[in-house]
């Protein structure tokens, strides 16, 4: 076992308190879809145990950037990523990186709830099973329950775990997808407009969840709702025409942003 000296522990804690620790570092990230360039040398660092919101007008590259963080762009034909992105100290575009494992560490929740056409239980158990996270049925039961608890869905579904996931309401399905993402104990969770199909109550539940998840996970969320970005995030990054134009503390971003383009965008003004 690797025992840390007391001083080292203190130093580590100190670092956590005082220094900003970055979970992911994006350096000069550019993305091309065929000949079309979608991102221009984006330098954006994602802070650990922080919710980072990505905002900007439609087509500015938010989803594109988000997808670079777990190599989801690999699945798109003709898509090319340049620059460097690290998760802790690992270069995620390194040849030796196991992409399946990467996506277990950096999970994703999509705009449209997309549960598998299987039972609620299976939706959550699927990830842990393929990653071999449960040794027994009891283990798996515990993971499923814990994940559904974390997603704030347990009480609503505990009596019908064997029913189909697609039979849930939209808001419940989205929380099921969050439970699914959480089940494999990722380090980072990416969310692309997770509430766009949800009513205010389901949205509030997801936001409450994001708030709680922050203690254990690092979260990057794309949202079109300025109010949502202001409510859930601590850092906000503004994209415009494929460029990162401003990244700031969320409180500053929504009261007194530095960049004119940010101002116009968040206030709903013509540039």
């Amino acid at each position: 076992m690797n025992m840390m000296s007391e001083a080292a522990v203190e130093k580590a804690l100190d670092k956590k308190m005082n220094d900003i620790s970055y979970k992911m570092i994006g350096k000069d990230v550019s993305v091309y879809y065929g000949d079309k360039r979608a991102l221009y040398d984006v330098n954006l660092n994602v802070r650990e145990n922080t919710v980072t919101a990505l905002i900007g007008p439609s087509g500015c590259g938010k989803s594109t950037f988000l997808r670079t963080l777990n190599r989801m762009n690999d699945t798109i034909d003709g898509c090319r990523v340049t620059g460097r992105i690290t998760l802790d100290t690992d270069d995620i575009y390194d040849q030796n990186i196991d992409v399946v494992e990467l996506r277990a560490r950096v999970g994703m929740v999509f705009q449209k709830p997309n549960p598998f056409p299987k039972s609620i239980y299976e939706n959550v158990a699927y990830g842990p099973r393929i990653h071999g996270l449960a040794k027994s049925k009891a283990d798996m039961d515990a993971i499923v329950e814990k994940s559904l608890q974390k997603a704030g869905l347990w009480n609503e579904v505990k009596d019908r775990l064997q029913e189909g996931g697609t039979g849930l309401s939209g808001g419940q399905q989205q929380r099921l997808c969050i439970a699914r993402a959480v089940a494999v104990s990722p380090e980072v969770i990416l969310m692309d407009e997770p509430c766009s199909a949800l009513d205010p109550i389901a949205t509030a539940k997801v936001e409450e969840l994001i708030h709680e998840l922050r203690a254990n996970f690092t979260i990057v969320i794309v949202t079109h709702s300025m109010q949502q970005a202001a409510r859930v995030s601590q850092r906000t990054a503004m994209f415009h025409l494929g460029n990162l134009v401003e990244e700031n503390d969320t409180d500053k971003m929504f009261t007194n942003p530095d960049d004119q383009r940010t101002q116009d965008y968040i206030m709903g003004r013509f540039g």
Partner: protein
Amino acid sequence: MSSTHIVSIYDEELKYLSRRISEMGGTAEQMVADSVRALVTMDVALAQKVISEDVILDNAERQINDKAIVTIAKRQPMAADLREIMGTIRIAAELERVGDLGKNTAKRVIAVQSSGMPRKLARGLEHLAELALIQLKEVLDVFATRSVDKAKAIRERDDEIDAIYTSLFRELLTYMMEDPRNITPCTHLLFCAKNIERIGDHATNIAETIYYMATGSQPEGERPKDDTSTSVVAADVADASE
């Protein structure tokens, strides 16, 4: 502001708020000017008019607040828009206070009318009011133009008002010491002077609010100090009047 909203009615709502502030400012200015004129000319009818006008500002403040609340709820304003609306609410409150001070001065006209006022005092009060009104007028102009530099300048110019107020304070004390029968009217006049001096402070508050609305930060540096009458003691006045 440099650009307009995509939702044009939002612009209308913000314009409505700032127009109402300008109106309140005009009313407050008029009330203060009338109250001081009523005081130095002992014009009770004019004083009554000022007293009755206070309700205009009370209502205006309430209407501005209601509209601001609805706009916040509807538009969920961000950044400069949010500061604009919050600033409007604050300025409306300041102007309502200015109206109260004018009304209070007007009320005292009735109490002091029978005693008359020495020429010198009247001139002092008029001068004080002139400066306070200039402050108020300028700050309302700044509200219209949103000039950050001018907002700062107003804030730095409260000193003169304070100096005149302090000298009036000394003078009133002198009268009171000369003849105890002066105590009642002079006390009223002292409150009137203080009312007018306070208007300068409200103008300064408004200037700071405008600065914040425009820049998103509080103006730097210390605010000019309050009146120095707090350190005037009877002995000084007695010495001075000998």
